[in-house]
Symmetry: C2
Subunit: 400 residues, 2 copies
């Protein structure tokens, strides 16, 4: 039985509503996947994440490999049990994070996040794998496709990602081509390891190829030929949104043509307009630090496309404002009648409560956007929903 089934398709785009079946329950798609990189959605209880409607979170192999280690988590019953999360978990392979250390600020630029590279450093990228310095203790460590697979197995991941090299956008075509070929060889090694250690998890290959269309097409072919349960789109997606959307379009076009039944994940992308566009392009799931990281920095998501859906609460403009962040939003801040003035006060003071309230608010916002898009696909009115949301419409919180 295939893991992914399509429930409805949009007649005017590649968008589709589906269901991804995992060992820890089904995930309705299109879905946003909150980050639980270090074994928790930062600041939240597992029950809060579930109550927001999320059916899957993303754990990070790189961080968990370094601390506390896959062996310990396995001995304690796996990542689900370790962090008290009973629903599905997808695990990043560690490729993005380990290469972020080497590619440094360029990788930060791509996805607006720091990876794990604050203190660490790549020592050598070899065919066998990557030697690097741990950002935890400065010790030398090694990661390879086999190690990534073994750690993801120890974690008990429901959706395992291939170990890849993530190239930044400013790398030359020649390097990108050679790196992508190595990523494909590493994909084969991941699959070999999994063939020797079968379990019930799903496996997603990762399409690389930078901003080069032919390389992206070749990468799609290679990933599909290898026989993965699903496909993730990774690596550099370009310097600007337009280029990123184009690269995603290339990949999704090929995927739709060659293997429409395989689920498609877009790695590290989650701005509101990118989610809407990604759904139209045929992406089934997204992960991104954005909603939760912004919350920790005092930024709320609001239906304001001119401000990239962001409202920075430390701005003095909010000091005396009695209105909630978003009228009608069911999060504890908005439904609890808390004012922008209060959130300004908490956020300006660096209060923990600000991070908590804003994380809930932002994940409520993203969940509502994704739900509205999904239900619009089912109802055959995606174009209207997308237009409405792009114009700054408040997501229809009352759905479902």
């Amino acid at each position: 039985m295939p893991a992914f089934s399509t429930i409805a398709t949009d007649p005017r785009s590649r968008a589709r509503a589906g269901l991804l079946e995992t060992a820890h329950g089904a995930v309705r798609t299109p879905a946003f996947v909150p980050l639980a990189s270090t074994a928790s959605v930062r600041g939240l209880l597992p029950e809060q994440v579930a109550a927001l409607g999320y059916e899957i979170v993303l754990g990070n192999t790189f961080h968990l490999f370094l601390r506390p280690g896959g062996e310990l988590i396995e001995r304690l019953g796996g990542l689900h049990r370790f962090m008290g999360w009973e629903r599905a978990i997808v695990t990043d392979s560690g490729g993005f994070q380990v290469f972020s250390m080497g590619h440094g600020t360029v990788a930060d630029e791509i996805k607006g996040r720091r990876g794990g590279g604050r203190e660490g450093a790549i020592l050598a990228i070899e065919e066998q794998g990557v030697r690097f310095r741990s950002y935890i203790d400065g010790g030398e460590r090694f990661i390879s496709p086999e190690i990534s697979m073994a750690v993801q197995r120890q974690l008990g991941s429901d959706v395992v990602l291939a170990f890849d090299e993530c190239t930044p956008f400013n790398v030359e075509r020649d390097y990108t081509a050679r790196s992508t070929e190595r990523t494909h060889r590493w994909l084969e090694r991941c699959l070999d390891w999994r063939a020797q250690h079968p379990d019930g998890s799903l496996f997603f290959g990762i399409v690389q190829g930078g901003v080069y269309r032919d390389l992206r097409t070749e990468s799609v072919e290679a990933v599909l030929a290898a026989g993965c349960d699903g496909v993730a789109i990774g690596g550099s997606l370009g310097r600007e949104k337009a280029q990123m959307h184009e690269v995603v379009d290339w990949c999704a076009t090929e995927l739709e043509r060659r293997a429409p039944q395989r689920p498609r994940h877009l790695l590290g992308i989650g701005e509101i307009d990118d989610l809407i566009r990604g759904v139209e392009l045929g992406i089934d799931s997204f992960d991104c630090a954005m909603p939760t990281r912004l919350a920790r920095h005092g930024v709320a998501l609001v239906p304001d496309p001119a401000a990239r859906w962001r409202l920075a609460l430390d701005r003095p403009a909010w000091r005396e404002r009695a209105e909630p962040l978003v009228a009608g939003c069911p999060c504890p801040a908005c439904a609890g009648g808390l004012s922008r003035a209060y959130l300004h006060y908490l956020a300006s003071g660096g209060e923990l409560t600000a991070a908590h309230l804003l994380t809930l608010h932002n994940l409520t916002f993203v969940a509502a956007v994704m739900r509205e898009l999904r239900e619009a696909i089912v109802a055959g009115r995606l174009a209207q929903a997308a237009t409405r949301l792009r114009a700054g419409g408040t997501p229809a919180y009352e759905l479902r």
Copy 2:
């Protein structure tokens, strides 16, 4: 109708179970009052605090006076509305915090907290009030009994505390005597202001007098003669626990003899053994930063008197331990099956989720201790409950 009524008394101590009626509901006593100094119990949602069974929290006049200011909170509907808390609020008067800045580390020593004095400083203590430098912006500010009353009115406090001078323990008798007399003059000014601005709030005078029995007795007399709804015991309570318990005993003995119907609050004290002893001595309510502050520093409360009921999760000893913090504890960490190993991992990494889980755990623990003590008083078996808890018994979570 008096605000406080006694439900049951312990025949072998001064302990009593009571009910304090406020404009925002009744508070069952003996009660622990979590700190919401800066308009939130740090990291928690109001609904979480209420779900733990707390019926009152403590807001801080000093901090809220400096930022965002009483006027703004009043304009936004008062502190209850500002922070989304529908139950009772007691407000510290600002006396402790402003004098902490002057008395510096000595005041820290008394209560193990920093007050607001990191960057601020007292400029002058005068009969009229105190001039000081704000720790927020370095600007010169002034606070007096009248200003403290006005700000507490703006906040909409249910239980207003008198503006007092809080003397540290190493101050000489002569200074303590003069300071205590000034505190009594300031008490009269607080009451004058309140007489001119009547409302439905309760007012607690503060007993000072340092570690000098006669000064404490005089202070009790002065506070009772002034006609307060309740009495708080403040200031230096001595260098060690034994002396602190003795000072509290002096005060409570006088209060029991002269005005048994008045509720008695013990300021800034909340270690588990102090709560048990305080209840026996006849204290009706306690506030303390301890349970919530410890949580933010990775320390859990556990039934282990030899370790002062503390378990430091960053210790390597917990790295691989599968057991919960406290078996039978209904908090999300323990009832959710989260291991000490997981909490060690989160706390060592400085993760927000550690602060959240441990704050809930610690407040669950303290709530259970207080509930067990209260129900034991009602059932006429306080001595057994106190003995059991002092010996490291797990609080009876299932009560009520």
